[in-house]
Amino acid sequence: MIVEILMVLFLSVGALFFLIGTIALLRFPDVYTRLHGATKCDTLGLGLILAGLMLHEGATLSTAKIAFIIIFVFLTGPTAAHALARATYKHGVKLWGKSVVDRYKDLP
């Protein structure tokens, strides 16, 4: 029973993080900030949801599979964000006007 409640909790929090990520995606002013919101909140949300499911499933192979999904996502998600951010910058999309500092600009 406690596992169930925990699972529901995990799922709900995960969904909540998804929602936050989405809001971030919609609200934030430029690509870089949106990347923050979208990729990482979502990654966490996914992690939480999958963790909840793992809890529910218990120690079976499916759990391990889900663990692998999480690992993959945690490997690829940030990398994708990183690649995208870099490419966007190199592509010439400027930072948001109200950005405070840009040390990357100095790089030849």
Partner: protein
């Protein structure tokens, strides 16, 4: 109505919200970010579906997603950076 369904619906809703960003842009990276976000949500939905339908085999699909969605982001990034993929 199971918990899964509620969560899935919530995720659907968020995915729909993401679609706005996907379609309206404004820049290409924005869209890709949105796509990335939708992919993640899709992944969650798929995994939830696997539990909802009690078909653990669906997890394979999620796994495929988890790996393959990465590719196109890389490709687009490469294109944005270098003007070509190869």
């Amino acid at each position: 109505m199971s918990v899964y369904l509620v969560i899935v619906l919530a995720l659907c809703f968020t995915a729909l919200l993401c679609t706005y960003r996907l379609i309206s842009g404004p820049t290409l990276p924005d869209r890709i970010v949105a796509a990335q976000a939708i992919t993640t949500k899709t992944l969650a939905i798929l995994t939830l579906l696997a539990f909802m339908y009690e078909q653990m085999i669906f997890l394979d699909i999620s796994l495929t997603y988890a790996v393959l969605a990465f590719l196109s982001v890389l490709a687009v990034a490469r294109y944005l950076e270098r003007g070509k993929v190869g």
